[in-house]
Subunit: 358 residues, 2 copies
Amino acid sequence: MHPVDYLKDFTFKVFRKTGCSEADAATISEVLVAAETRGIASHGMIRVKDYYQMWQKGRINIRPSITVVRETPGTAVVDGDASFGMVAAKRSMETAIEKARQVGTGWVSTQNSSHFGIAGYYSMMALEHDMIGVAMTNANPLVAPTYSISRMLGTNPIAIAIPAHRHPDFVADFATTPIARGKLAIKGKKGESIEEGFVQDARGSASTDPDVIRKGGAILPLGGDRLHGSHKGYCLSAIVDIFSSVFSGANFGPFVPPQVPYLDPPSHQTGKGLGHFFGAMRIDAWQEKEEFKKRMDQWIDTFRKSENAPDQPRVMVPGDPEREMEKKTRKEGVQLIGTVQNDLEEVARDLGLTFERD
Amino acid sequence: MHPVDYLKDFTFKVFRKTGCSEADAATISEVLVAAETRGIASHGMIRVKDYYQMWQKGRINIRPSITVVRETPGTAVVDGDASFGMVAAKRSMETAIEKARQVGTGWVSTQNSSHFGIAGYYSMMALEHDMIGVAMTNANPLVAPTYSISRMLGTNPIAIAIPAHRHPDFVADFATTPIARGKLAIKGKKGESIEEGFVQDARGSASTDPDVIRKGGAILPLGGDRLHGSHKGYCLSAIVDIFSSVFSGANFGPFVPPQVPYLDPPSHQTGKGLGHFFGAMRIDAWQEKEEFKKRMDQWIDTFRKSENAPDQPRVMVPGDPEREMEKKTRKEGVQLIGTVQNDLEEVARDLGLTFERD
């Protein structure tokens, strides 16, 4: 097991070595390690080598000048200047919070950014300001719209965080697909097949092959097939894409550049980099602060008391699983898989650092 | 077939007779008939008798004083004063649009309202102002959270409308469940069973019985089961509920009053009436108007060119099916089912009006 602080410190050093400022290296390491502690390993330490190599390839600007390129009292378009996604995203969310302070809510669409890690991190930034936080992002295209075999959309996640009083906060953070890319990869590596309802093959037929993406297949939108509402998942993913890219001037849908060093950006671009969308809403825009939080407590109490189906786990409130995982990993540390440890050793060697295996 | 204008005129007369103002009767008839013309019959003329009887029971205030009870430059909480939902909703969306004009975006949460018809109508109000429109509402509880057998949430729809230039506008309007309540009712009346993945029985087991709601069962969240992401549909529906009720002071989740005359509101209330949430965003907050619309055209062009799966209908852009239906019904008229025609005749007799059968 690796202590959380060890991973954060190591990651900080890696990005300092690439030339990031102290503040930016701290942001990147904090978001990556937050993913590990919250049990979303697909967005954690596994990304360090990818990010490092993206920088080596010159696709990341480690001394970015992040600017607001258009604004109203309640909105802004932010240009991330090709920075690491975390850096542009944190600045954008801070801008949304500042706008909300002035006029009740603030909304920011960000262009010219890259992979930003877990959406939940940015939505949760609003909580300490007694605000509701919203974060979403487009991502490289792996998802086919209903009736299609073309990969047009990313797994485009949505995160929304809402403060409570006595209870822990409500934090929803979910991809708009039935399965995450990372889970497919793990099943594929183990040589296992997957259940139907997650992916389709290159002809658009139901598939149980976790490696189907490499064979021209696609991930299905949330809902699975048309009968069970995949057109609703397609709508959701399309909305995230448009808010993140059409609003900001980033690449949309199939033009979003892949966020791995071994795949080049598509030659045709419709905008700049990858796009995000952020929002912050003051809770006292809606109710007196205490009143708002007590009503959230009442909502959470009510939902916790939902009757369980027989032989099923207890009913949860969004944010419960990640918070429980965080409690555990902060105490026990994080278990990294072997290939990730190898990757981190390799990056460390390259930079004259050391990474200790567990 | 009934011409669209005939239905609108009849509905207008019905609500004038109940004592609604000319403007309010026009709003109610316009939203109900918009549902019929857009092919969402479950929210159209079938509701006239329910609304009429809700009023007869004293549950609707036909001379409401709709007020803003709290506001910031970019937000408002609206009290619908127990009006017909359409009346409170239209006023709320107008308030959101006015706020957006001032500070870029406007957001309104509405309490003390009732069933508002199709969410899409309100989101589309933003389009003529060169704004993006957002509308959502909570609804009477029929949906069980993941792992639960309790009916805690409504089918809680989300509608988002985004203006384009050369192409028709993007309009997504969808329930956060794999199936609508109305479709279950139709299957039930026909004595047909339904596929798995839509509902569960009173013990939480998969069911194919469309009458399962009356037997203590529940509708599943979008995603169907936990394996296929029902927790994501649960998150979405919970967010719609909280934005509509905790924000505004309306009843949340299981306390939302049923919107039919034969079911009384629950004795325990956590707020006032039913709640909605609306948003408007100026497109020129994000890009120059023409630039924004052209980028939307490019997005729509790209998605229309998605390759079709073999033997599947062509790939659609959100809003296509409703717009095609609207074109057809405006030309050919609306086909009402027999029981709806009977209901309308009954309401007409009661009020000294006539309704002509087709």
